[in-house]
């Protein structure tokens, strides 16, 4: 093999490596626009606050609730078991590190509807499946769950079940958010530990 051939082989190898590497450290959407449009318009990507309340009350370990508000807002009040990933930091870190578990439903919420839905479109665009949104955000949570009252005389079984779930979720939310900050942190850590123990079976 003469020098020119060696040089050509070297160029070819470098070319292949460069072609496989990302263009820069930045991320771009990988899902085709038409497919992404279908995914983001899928009605199954929305959960109501009642559905989220049920996940919390039943301590569903297949759900990870992600709070997109600021750390200050999160510290003041948050949905039990949620983790904080502020929307303005969403693309600073690699969201795939938090959201890549295919078995877990990642449910975004913010105060309203914009940030959570922006985040969902980004996550789906980066091919992060199992991402969902709690419709209406924490404002809707307060309207529906925290301000839930029953004033009638008769209640159907379905209404009763719904009301009971809301009441239990409201109680968990209030107890958790009434704790001093240090205890709140320990509570969050203990729930994560409990989940790990459950996942791993007996010790």
């Amino acid at each position: 093999m003469n020098t020119r051939q060696k040089f050509s082989a070297g160029l070819l190898i470098i070319g292949f490596i460069l072609a496989l590497l990302p263009l820069s450290g930045s991320r771009s959407f990988t899902v085709r626009p038409q497919k992404l449009l279908g995914e983001v318009l899928d009605s199954n990507t929305w959960f109501t606050v009642d559905q989220v309340a049920r996940f919390i009350v039943t301590e569903d370990s297949s759900v990870q609730i992600i709070d997109l508000r600021t750390p200050e807002e999160f510290k003041t009040v948050n949905i039990p078991g949620s983790i904080n990933l502020p929307y303005n930091k969403f693309l600073d870190i690699d969201p795939a590190r938090l959201l890549s578990n295919g078995k877990t439903k990642n449910i975004f919420y913010s105060n309203g509807d914009f940030d959570s839905n922006f985040a969902l479109a980004i996550a789906r665009g980066l091919n992060l499946k199992n991402t969902f949104v709690m419709k209406g955000g924490l404002n809707e949570w307060f309207n529906t769950v925290m301000n839930s009252t029953f004033t009638g005389e008769r209640i159907s079984a379905r209404e009763n079940a719904l009301f009971e779930t809301r009441t239990r979720a409201k109680k968990m939310f209030s107890e958790m958010n009434s704790m001093p900050d240090s205890l709140k942190l320990k509570f969050i850590q203990s729930t994560h530990l409990a989940a790990k123990k459950l996942d791993g079976g007996c010790e």
């Binding site: 085709r32 940030d115 959570s116 980004i122 665009g125 307060f142 109680k171």
Partner: protein, 153 residues
């Protein structure tokens, strides 16, 4: 000369093809997701419905709702598009080629936010969401820690 450097020319052509393949295989999205999502962070992409009348008429207003009655009283060019057909050639060309601002409207803010992100990542600039609520992301709740529900519940 060409015969002498045949191998080098072949290599350069292969490299050129690889680069072309990479450039065309990006699914029509711009490379930096963060850059294209930036205005969604500071909410500079949201325009309030009341301010629509103050526009200069070069806007392309896209109504993503079935109800078309909401957006008649303004001087913008109006397109009623079902969200699932927004990428059809008929519409996407007019959206991408429109010179002025493009405004998305839906009574479900989640739909306009998702479509906004999709179009903005495809490189559409001057893309805005028309919203009834300026304060959608402002907390409308006040939690009182001592308002723990009755333990008998």
């Amino acid at each position: 000369m060409v015969k002498k450097n045949r191998e080098v020319i072949v290599i350069v052509l292969i490299l050129l093809l690889l680069i072309l393949f990479r450039e065309t295989g990006k699914n029509h999205f711009k490379s930096d997701a963060k850059k294209w999502a930036e205005s969604s962070i500071n909410k500079s992409d949201i325009i309030i419905t009341e301010k629509l009348g103050l526009s200069d008429g070069k806007n392309l207003l896209i109504n993503l709702d079935k109800d078309t009655s909401r957006l008649k009283k303004n001087n913008s060019e109006l397109l009623n598009i079902s969200p699932d057909s927004i990428l059809s050639k008929k519409y996407i060309n007019s959206i991408m080629k429109h010179d002025g601002p493009v405004l998305l409207f839906s009574t479900n803010p989640g739909v306009s936010a998702r479509v906004w992100m999709l179009l903005s990542q495809m490189g559409r600039k001057k893309l805005y969401i028309l919203s009834d609520k300026a304060d959608d992301e402002v907390p409308k709740y006040k939690f009182k820690p001592d308002s723990v529900p009755d333990k008998n519940l």
